[in-house]
Symmetry: C2
Subunit: 167 residues, 2 copies
């Protein structure tokens, strides 16, 4: 198959790295936004922040998991460029990419959905405020991060089939 030529593999590798860098950036901003989200009630003086909600705590956990995974993958890519060898050789590397992207993309969509689900209902009860705005923005960025990871996951699924094909 023409798709298995080295140049095509290099293109996929570059596209994959680009997707991981983009995910990393979006997750980083999402993390900052949800971490700084605070609101003081004008009447009661009560402060609310993300840690008051289990759902936002879960969301921040998924952001951190995705963040660490993408950091690791970018480290692997740099190692590959510098040394010319893959960190995990043979089937191991392809399977790690395949399952890694798949599982992490499920984590990211679950965190984003949980965040959206709660934010939408919080917003209906009260007028829009700084806290829910930041939470909404964070969930949106997490959703974009998920979309990039889902694309990377599609790439690595196809890479698995090309790999089997060329061996």
């Amino acid at each position: 198959m023409a798709d298995s030529s080295p140049s095509s593999t290099t293109v996929s590798r570059t596209a994959l790295l680009l997707l991981r860098v983009l995910t990393f950036i979006f997750l980083f901003i999402a993390l900052i936004l949800i971490a700084v989200a605070k609101q003081t009630d004008d009447n009661t003086g009560e402060k609310i922040k993300f840690s008051d909600f289990y759902t936002y705590r879960y969301m921040i956990s998924t952001i951190i998991i995705g963040f660490v995974y993408n950091l690791l993958q970018m480290g692997f890519s740099i190692f590959t460029v510098v040394s010319g060898n893959r960190v995990l050789s043979g089937d191991g590397g392809y399977l790690f990419d395949f399952f890694g992207d798949k599982i992490i993309s499920y984590f990211l969509i679950s965190g984003s959905s949980a965040g959206f689900g709660l934010t939408v209902e919080l917003r209906r009860g009260a007028p829009s405020n700084s806290f829910t705005d930041k939470a909404h923005a964070s969930a949106s960025l997490l959703l974009i991060g998920f979309l990039f990871t889902a694309m990377a996951s599609t790439f690595t699924s196809f890479a698995l089939s090309k790999k089997t094909n060329s061996s």
Copy 2:
């Protein structure tokens, strides 16, 4: 590769059909549970049901999408058994399975997470009641349905690579 032998393919096909039937059953019960979830406030007499929350409406949408998809896939399987031919021949069938399972599994986990995220926060505010119990059970069954679909998605990703390999 020995994995591409017809008997192994038949085993995967059967496992895949079993996963789809299980998903279908779990989604069906999840659908009934969230649809019948109702609660009347003892003090105010106010009734709450799933359609009062955008998040539960989204959850029910994802259940219906998953339900219809699995019904379609089961129909395709029955057609294949009866006629001996796949509905979508060639690459089309494998790509449909691959993207179908991938996208539907993302829908299912997002519906389940959104449902859980809201239910957990609703339960914290008020004592456990019939409505949140049913919503929680529905989100749990949806999560199990997701796990089956995620397994099916892993199968169909590998089927894609075997298919490319044997052609």
